[in-house]
Symmetry: none
Subunit: 199 residues, 4 copies
Amino acid sequence: MEEQKRTRKEILDEVTRTLILDAAKKILFDEGTQGFIMDRVAVQAGVAKGTLYLHFRDKDDLLKETLEKCFEPFFILADTIFESDLSPEKKLEEFSLQGYRFFEQQRKLFYIVMGSRELKTDSHMDEDSPYWGLVEKIARVFDEGTRQGLFKPMNSTKMAGMFLDAQGALILQQLLGKSTDPEEDVPLVMNVFLNGIRA
Amino acid sequence: MEEQKRTRKEILDEVTRTLILDAAKKILFDEGTQGFIMDRVAVQAGVAKGTLYLHFRDKDDLLKETLEKCFEPFFILADTIFESDLSPEKKLEEFSLQGYRFFEQQRKLFYIVMGSRELKTDSHMDEDSPYWGLVEKIARVFDEGTRQGLFKPMNSTKMAGMFLDAQGALILQQLLGKSTDPEEDVPLVMNVFLNGIRA
Amino acid sequence: MEEQKRTRKEILDEVTRTLILDAAKKILFDEGTQGFIMDRVAVQAGVAKGTLYLHFRDKDDLLKETLEKCFEPFFILADTIFESDLSPEKKLEEFSLQGYRFFEQQRKLFYIVMGSRELKTDSHMDEDSPYWGLVEKIARVFDEGTRQGLFKPMNSTKMAGMFLDAQGALILQQLLGKSTDPEEDVPLVMNVFLNGIRA
Amino acid sequence: MEEQKRTRKEILDEVTRTLILDAAKKILFDEGTQGFIMDRVAVQAGVAKGTLYLHFRDKDDLLKETLEKCFEPFFILADTIFESDLSPEKKLEEFSLQGYRFFEQQRKLFYIVMGSRELKTDSHMDEDSPYWGLVEKIARVFDEGTRQGLFKPMNSTKMAGMFLDAQGALILQQLLGKSTDPEEDVPLVMNVFLNGIRA
DNA sequence: CATGAATGAGCCTTCATTCAT
DNA sequence: CATGAATGAAGGCTCATTCAT
């Protein structure tokens, strides 16, 4: 029964935690990082301000977890792609396409992450940030390609960084209205990088 | 003499302005955007708080101008390259190399611009930001190459964005200690992009 | 019990609110509107500066409510008179007398309201200010007198305004030491106005 | 020649002084007491900020003199009336009418004086303010009437205060749009007061 | 005398965090 | 555990006044 109780507590905890994170996500989307204020998150979540601190160390912790939650669907998608049977080239292409689409739908998220300059949490600088996780996963695809003799040998981490950021540059231009066609942009990245690295 | 007087005043004004900007630069470097506080800038500059507002509209204005001042040497360098007689390929390579070196020396600046999330001034989002200025200039180089029959026809703005951000990815990795050799990295970018676009 | 709890909280809230208003009143009296500074009010109330903003939107709100609280006893008195069975003439006389006495005791308040020029809250200009509320109530007394055939027909609002301000002129002179005797002043107003309006 | 020089200086001084006062008047009208800021007055006057302090002790001094300058035409008018051959009753009536008209044209001035609560300078409280000057002059008219056997004996200062403020109440209502007809309002004051005091 | 850059005390307001209930 | 009133450090900005030129 002790076991049971603890479990129940843990479940309730999880529920509250999720409640808060969902609220935080909404606030982050609606108000941007400027408006990401503990008070508002608490109100949105329907919990007391103090409760926030029962589940997250401080504002930064909450923000970090919120961002992670925002990216979660994309990461799951990415993982699915990376762990599939597709060829390395196809994996990259598929990732490119999905990234493009994800941010097309989650336009605001991109603005917040790239554009907002209010986060202490520095996703680029932090070694175990989503950014670096992604870079490593893409690097593994390049390694895979090289192992299969499809790509030239290379510094895969660097190449992955370049691939990811070049992609980001296109998404940025897309969001700013310079173009809206993944049919055009995805091949563009793919051509540049595949021509550059094909064995 | 009227002329003279006005000139003298303008010079003094300029002196104070520079004094403040230098102080602001130092504060920005030492304390990051978090610590970029008007009071501190004033103390560092050795002027009164109010004086800051005699030369800059508000905190944001000061911050923006400070950043511009930080990048100035790099922009001048970039312009020199872009306006030189070098071949398009060489221009890109030289830009790549200089960018690499600039941020090697100004490591902190990169952290501040890329990493800090405290700036309202959003260099990526703002259409006439240094970022877009650079993109446009690089695009012109791509156009030039295409006109000379060296590069394939392409959407030069997109390509320039990709080129710049791919570069940034490498600089980031360099700064995080993943590598320190421009001898290795510059050819990397160049290879990828030139293979990808050469006619 | 939920009910109880909420009630208790509301009571505590009310206590703090009153604490602040009393402090604000004291500051207003002691220091005038010039010295009506949020910091000082907080210290006087024995609460933190931030607490002020938990109970009042901003400085102006606090000031407005403070003034209202200052006048409250007088308004209650006035209402008692206006709603009594006294004859219109007696009502006016009684109002006159009570106003005289109220400001005799609250001398400082008169100075603050009439003399101080620091309030944004403009009691004369604002259509639903205490001033206009009083004018309307007095006007009703004049109307009553006219209906009863005691007073000539008249524009009661205008007459009420004149009556109130004429009164104010006397109180002002009283406060400045020109006279101190309500026995003399009240009949003065009454004579002038009643002679002027009696049917 | 020394004489001459000093005179010339005095004239220039007077010119600057007037320049400043005119500017101050304009600022006061256009921006209200809120916007009555030394900087702006200086700019409007076309002189340096420091110059203001060469001609006026401090902001309060300037404000006081500005207000006096605003009322000057009305005071001159009033004096003309008070020193004329008119009967006391006619003097009061004429004063009433002219006051009414003056503020009708100078609507903004009335708002500023009565409505604005930003002036340290307290025209009502200060014993040698325009207000008290006016009261005294009106009191002399009442005295004159009493001497001529037209009015009952009375405390003329008090009566004058009442007369002036009752008048103010009507002007206030006029300005707030409750009525616009001096043909109606002037007789109103006159009736009340004359009935109240006629011998 | 005039100037106007510099001053800096002063003030309002925000918001992350705590802690008594 | 949850609560939310209280906290108070922190920070941006204003503007009357001064003084060196």
